[in-house]
């Protein structure tokens, strides 16, 4: 309840703030017009009305898509972090740790820099889908490699999986470095901005692709609450409780690769959300995944939209990459959590 209210407040505030500052009343007055412009892009009257009013334009073209992207990416990253921590019974797990993010990033970087040569005409025709698809491919490939390495005789060895994640991170990091080295100046600037993360989005089609994938995943993932709870008892115990853990793990891994791949392809690598949010929520709700999963999604969305407000307004009209904000806020906060709760021996 509290989290939902918080989310709504941040969402509304996000619409009113930006390089051009506006009052709440102005925004509410123009919201219908902006929505009309969004939902009927070919409706001449709506568009003419929109073009006449700069704020309607700003809302329809910039702030609303950006808010939606922030919501789904924040919720997606946070719920994926929660899932991974439950799956690995390890509070340090998150999509970054597994190499999903970096695998997705490698896929995306390859497309950005070498896309023209690799895909040629395809790049033009399948533009909207290409980047998410390669990022998902990269993320899934990393996960697949890690999964193959660490699954022996139908059981997943957690230690091997974590170590394999570190190795995959190192390898993809090296490749991304190599590609950055051969990129030209313009691409390099793209790469840097993108690798620090940004919720800037101007293409509604890209956003719809992302929502088509992430929203169903967000609805599916909370159904795994019981399975993840049982998994905390141990993998055999989960089996004894009637849960087909191997199947559940496979499904969760694919869902996580999808969400993270799409999120990375659109907004770059935004760290700490997947790690930080589950910890914060656990303090509020306790470790029960049936509550933890939806609450993490809500709070992740709130946190990312909030961080984006800071990113857009702190040095307006310029922008700070949002990955820097989340790391700047998240890093010290996480250290504080570690000190405080490690001392009390109840870190998670």
């Amino acid at each position: 309840m509290l989290l939902t209210a918080l989310l709504l407040a941040v969402a509304v505030y996000s619409l009113t703030s930006g390089a051009v500052s506006t009052g709440l009343r102005e925004v509410t007055a123009r919201l219908p017009a902006a929505l009309a412009a969004i939902f009927s892009p070919y409706d001449a009257t709506a568009n003419v009305a929109a073009a006449d009013d700069r704020l309607v334009m700003i809302l329809a073209e910039i702030r609303i898509p950006r808010l939606l992207l922030g919501l789904i990416v924040g919720a997606g990253l946070a719920i994926c972090g929660t899932v991974m921590q439950g799956l690995f019974r390890n509070p340090m797990a998150d999509p970054g740790l597994l190499g999903v993010s970096s695998g997705a990033a490698l896929g995306a970087v390859l497309t950005i820099v070498l896309g023209g040569e690799l895909f040629g005409r395809l790049m033009l025709s399948a533009g909207v889908w290409l980047l998410p698809a390669t990022a998902f491919g990269g993320g899934l490939l990393s996960l697949f490699i890690i999964h193959r390495l660490s699954v022996v005789g139908g059981k997943t060895d957690i230690a091997t999986m974590l170590l394999a994640g570190i190795a995959v991170n190192a390898i993809t990091g090296a490749f991304i470095g190599l590609i950055s080295y051969i990129a030209d100046d313009a691409q390099l600037r793209d790469l840097i901005f993108w690798s620090l993360g940004s919720l800037q989005i101007t293409d509604w089609r890209k956003l719809l692709v992302a929502m088509a994938v992430i929203v169903p995943a967000l609805l599916l993932l909370p159904r795994y609450g019981d399975a993840l709870n049982a998994n905390l008892l141990g993998e055999s115990e989960a089996g004894h409780l009637g849960i087909e853990m191997e199947k559940v793990k496979r499904q969760l891994i694919i869902l996580v690769a999808l969400v993270v791949g799409i999120a990375v392809s659109l907004s770059g690598v935004i760290g700490f959300v997947g790690l930080l949010v589950p910890h914060l929520i656990r303090i509020l709700t306790g470790p029960d995944h049936r509550l933890l999963l939806p609450a993490s999604a809500l709070f992740g969305a709130t946190l990312l939209v909030g961080a984006d407000i800071v990113a857009r307004t702190a040095v307006a009209p310029a922008e700070i990459p949002i990955g820097i904000i989340t790391a700047l806020l998240g890093g010290p906060f996480f250290l504080w959590l570690l000190v405080r709760f490690h001392r009390a021996r109840s870190l998670y």
Partner: protein, 277 residues
Amino acid sequence: MLRATNLSVRAGASVLLDNLTVEFAPGELVMVVGPNGAGKTTLLRCLDGELSPAQGGVELGRRPIGDWPRNQLARARAVLPQQSTLDFPFSVTDVVLMGRIPHAANDAEDRAIAARALDLCDCARLGERAYTSLSGGEQQRVQTARVLAQICAEHAAAQPDTETNRFLLLDEPASALDLSHQYALLRLLKTLSRNDHIGIICTLHNLNLVAQFADRAIVLDRGMLVADGAPMEVFTEETISNVFDLNVTITPHPDDPTIPLLIPRLFQAGVAVDAGV
């Protein structure tokens, strides 16, 4: 009926279980004893369906255990492993409620069953504590309560098939318990097997507890079945000496002559071993 036929399990070159055939009936309290590495845990893991044997098979109610739908199996048998890895601070009640995951009962009923299970394991006052803050013995009792909540009857008539074939498998459930809780646990298991008609298979190291409470004792040594029968028949000075490499005298219990009492000897072939010399 839970039946293992010609069970063999190997790990690399070593034989963990060697052509074992045993049978368990609902309502029976069976204890598996043997030295470390005798194959007790391996036997339990085969019986619960987690481990697929290299040879032979396990049947629960005439159906191979692998053919049981997982959720249905989880309502027919519960398993308490030797150790549990839970290190997230669930409340004790929440841990016990996890035992209700396979059941599609309503929340109030689940809570009533969980509370009863906690009470049976002398954990009623721990209900709201964080699991991670408990001592080892308390954690073991809470885990026991969890498997009790999983197997204990809801509506007795609702599942005739599983009702006649309910089993509880416990791997050293008393290893961290103090003496009085060890006795309380075994009295509880005895009652459950009698009143609820649950088949209980339990590994245990304290042979006097086995002698006092078990309907049947199964002695394993190096993966082989050495003896299977009532404690009075199975526990002979010769068997114990052969299997455990320990000299004991076996006398009737002073309070009940049908219970054998094992007393480790202080002298072995005339030489003091534990005589404090």
